[in-house]
Symmetry: C2
Subunit: 223 residues, 2 copies
């Protein structure tokens, strides 16, 4: 990994910008090296040393695990603005791939850690990010005990919320990605979406674009 060409576009790496103390995000912007990843290319693999921290600038990333029998479990989708890949120690427990052509800021973990050792605000921010991720995964657990329809609807609402509550979402990921995230088959995802369209809860102008027509109905459906 990290075998892609760094972009060094300049506007992403403003060495003139002052370091904001107690600001992890700002530090990452400043210290991070922007890199381009092609669609489906690996960003890091399971069991690799976790020496870097990542922040999505554009595009989308999936983190996942392949089980012994070949099934794939997608653990998360990371969208622009999201940071990912930080472990406290040792190795990555998941693999990460770009879902579409993506630009990603990459920062050495050691740099962030030494910053955190000096600045308690940064340390706290690192902790806070991990705790927020923990809550997200807890919601994922809650999603996985629901029915297929509830899972699909929860996913749609989650994506809409992450798009600042927009009433339409453009999905960077395939039906297979969604299915592996929700723990169902692509057929079930597809049928459920078709069903929601028939029920006038959503519109499907194209397979990767979903308009949420009846937000209330959807909220009711997801539990």
């Amino acid at each position: 990994m990290l075998n892609q060409t760094a972009l060094h576009t300049g506007n992403l790496r403003q060495s003139t910008r002052p370091v904001a103390a107690h600001d992890l995000a700002g530090s990452v912007e400043m210290m991070g090296a922007p890199m381009a990843f092609a669609r489906n290319s690996e960003i890091y693999g399971e069991d690799e040393p976790a020496d870097y921290l990542y922040k999505v600038v554009s595009g989308a990333v999936r983190t996942y695990k392949i089980l012994a029998d070949g099934r794939r479990q997608v653990q998360a989708f990371h969208l622009p603005g999201d940071m990912f890949g930080f472990e406290v120690e040792g190795e990555h427990t998941l693999s990460a791939e770009a879902i579409v052509e993506s630009r990603i800021l990459v920062v050495k973990r050691s740099a962030i850690e030494s910053l955190a050792a000096r600045d308690h605000g940064v340390a706290r921010e690192l902790w806070s990010l991990t705790a927020r991720e923990l809550q997200r995964v807890q919601r994922h657990v809650t999603l996985l005990i629901k029915t297929a329809q509830e899972r699909v609807v929860s996913f749609l609402l989650e994506m809409a919320e992450r798009a600042q509550g927009a009433s339409a979402v453009n999905l960077p990921m395939s039906r297979q990605d969604i299915a592996d995230y929700l723990g169902v088959t692509i057929e079930t995802v597809s049928r459920t979406l078709s069903g929601l369209e028939s029920a006038a809860a959503i519109e499907l102008p194209s397979s990767r674009r979903i308009v949420l027509r009846d937000h209330n109905a959807l909220t009711r459906l997801c539990n």
Copy 2:
């Protein structure tokens, strides 16, 4: 919550013991107030302010969420030595109950936080605990995409591992607790255990005690 009687057994609260710097666990032992919780009593509830940190001394704790339709999702079982209930900010997102009569150390979060602000080692330990919990929940997600048998077997192996790899486990929790943790019904848990007994993979001397007879077979079964 916190309406139980503190034990103050003395041997749990050794004010003579020196504070080990960079040691969160030690600080909790020293600063924590031991409290007794009866079977099924609430330790804290969802949406309560998260002002305390907890460490199980004896007994067992479940954290859970009740969904809108009444279903219960058990997120974790906490056993002696485990810490739980720490949020970075704001409120608890889960409820916690003692599964059996339990003794639990309770520490004010503000005390730990001020310690962390002064001592980077403690701050890092807090972060590390959160990250470890994150990994546990990620494994829970992976468990929930598997078949019922794989879930039950994974649960047994998890419990055995937490009992220092013992070949027999004494379960403090009911079948219903296990079912709500695994996202299946009690009938499925029961039938699966019976099936494993028929297959000579386990023995069931009593419903709360399970002997792992064929560890290899079990490992194979859970994927």
